[in-house]
């Protein structure tokens, strides 16, 4: 079981209260997390990554164990603390705009 925190707007959109818990069958990667999020909450498709290119949306960031994973490969295994649910994968909207 891994833990994921979404931006407030996406929690509201998907009707999620608080932190999410996901069970992933294979390797714990950003791609696997996003795939599972979009499978469970289809309305989130396109809000975190482009429908076609699957590129991360520019104003969205990924943080794991206090490290910025925004520019890492989506196929790179996340830290063990994330995979074991001891730490939360944080998906964060950039602080920008008004």
């Amino acid at each position: 079981m891994i833990r994921v925190e979404l931006p407030a707007h996406l929690r509201n959109l998907a009707g999620i209260q608080g932190e999410l818990q996901l069970d992933l069958a294979g390797p714990v990667t950003i791609r696997a997390v996003l795939d599972e999020l979009e499978r469970r909450y289809p309305m989130l498709a396109g809000t975190m990554r482009d429908h076609v290119t699957l590129k991360r949306r520019d104003f969205l960031r990924f943080f794991a164990c206090e490290e910025d994973w925004s520019h890492e490969s989506h196929d790179k295994p996340l830290p063990e603390a994330i995979a074991q649910g001891r730490e939360t994968l944080i998906i964060l909207g950039a602080i920008a705009g008004g």
Partner: protein
């Protein structure tokens, strides 16, 4: 007894304003989708409880919301807008080629005959259609691919397809407008398109009479006169009486013919409304006086409508999708401002009063006249 429902899109959410036919007391609900930009909200003429909303955000992209109960509850629909084939390039601001990239939906136009059919005008400019109530979208790519696409370029707000006008007398005919490409018409339901910009003259482009490149801000049509179109261009108010094949300027005695909105009275096809804005670099009314101008002669002769509107220190703008009319016997006219006011007139513009004063900047206003 009839009633009206005003659908307002703002920079930070949607609002639904409802009143009986007197249009004196209003119930305000919202914000719906708080914190998101709501470019447009529009109800189906077939089923007034069916309402579509374009919800977008610089962070999270585009969503389409649908209500089946008149705006009380909403559900997200499909948000996958994918250009057909290889998107190609249009011109960037500096004239260099720039790849087509989907950014947002500016305008949703529900079908006049099918509640599940709705058209979406998007940035970068293209037209999409859904026939399943927004659950899936397909591009009508004949527009973008008809030949002049590589010459289109963005206006200040982006390269957006912002106007979709349907003709109830001819299901195959449709008009659209793009900033800054111009106006286009299809006569076969969107398969093929032709630019309809003859008669337009735009001093700010290299060839002022070019086939495309004109910054059309808005087109309006009265359903009983489907061949007569009215246009608010970047500068100039224009009119066509042959379905856009040729345009004539009807700015007449307007104090400035720059502006964004234009609309037609519900029962008088020659009565039209604009809100003159000072200039392309000063997007506010002249001398801080907010004035709607009305022509009862289809243009050229205009009168200022000021009663109830601020006549000093008013420096708001009225954006292109932010004016609408109701269909009650005494036609109501509505517009929203970037200052967050929504003004209503229940007497065809003779006098005005704000429904609300302090919303986020208003992007769009639509009206439903309910039985």
């Amino acid at each position: 007894m009839s009633s009206v429902r005003v659908l307002v899109g703002t920079r930070k959410g949607a609002f639904v304003l409802e009143s009986d036919a007197k249009r004196e007391k209003w119930d305000v609900s919202g914000p719906h989708f708080a914190g998101w930009e709501i470019y447009h909200v529009k109800g189906s003429p077939v089923d007034p409880n069916r309402i579509y909303a374009s919800q977008s955000s610089g962070w999270f992209g585009q969503l389409i919301q649908r209500s089946d109960d008149g705006g009380k509850t909403w559900a997200p629909m499909d948000n996958k807008f994918v250009y057909e084939g290889v998107p190609g390039t249009h011109q960037w601001y500096d004239g260099t080629p720039h790849p087509w990239e989907f950014k947002r939906v500016w305008h949703l136009e529900p079908s006049l005959t099918e509640a599940d059919t709705v058209f979406a005008g998007v940035e970068d400019a293209a037209l999409f259609k859904s026939t399943d109530g927004g659950k899936s979208w397909a591009e009508l790519s004949g527009l973008r691919g008809h030949g002049t696409g590589p010459k289109w370029q963005p206006g200040a707000g982006g390269m957006c397809l912002h106007t979709i006008v349907l003709d109830k007398s001819d299901p195959g005919r449709m008009y659209i407008a793009i900033s800054a490409a111009g106006a286009f018409r299809t006569d076969d339901g969107g398969v093929t398109w032709k630019p309809i910009n003859q008669g337009l003259r735009s001093q700010y482009i290299p060839d002022p009479k070019a086939e495309v490149g004109h910054c059309v801000h808005r087109i309006a049509m009265h359903p009983s006169r489907p061949n007569t179109l009215f246009m608010q261009k970047h500068w100039d108010v224009m009119r066509s009486d042959d379905a856009g094949d040729m345009w004539q300027e009807v700015s007449g005695n307007l104090p400035t013919d720059f502006g964004f909105v234009i609309d037609v009275h519900a029962h008088e096809p020659e009565t039209i409304y604009v809100v003159p804005i000072k200039s392309d670099s000063e997007h506010f009314p002249i001398d801080g006086k907010l004035q709607v101008y009305r022509s009862r002669t289809g243009g050229n002769e205009w009168e200022a409508l000021t009663k109830g509107l601020p006549q000093s220190d008013c420096y708001v703008n009225v954006l292109r999708d932010a004016m609408a009319v109701d269909k009650l016997d005494q036609c109501g006219v509505y517009f929203g401002t970037t200052g967050g006011q929504v003004y209503a007139s229940s007497n065809a513009g003779d006098s005005w009063a704000p429904i609300v004063r302090d919303l986020p900047a208003v992007l769009s206003v639509e009206v439903q006249t309910l039985p």
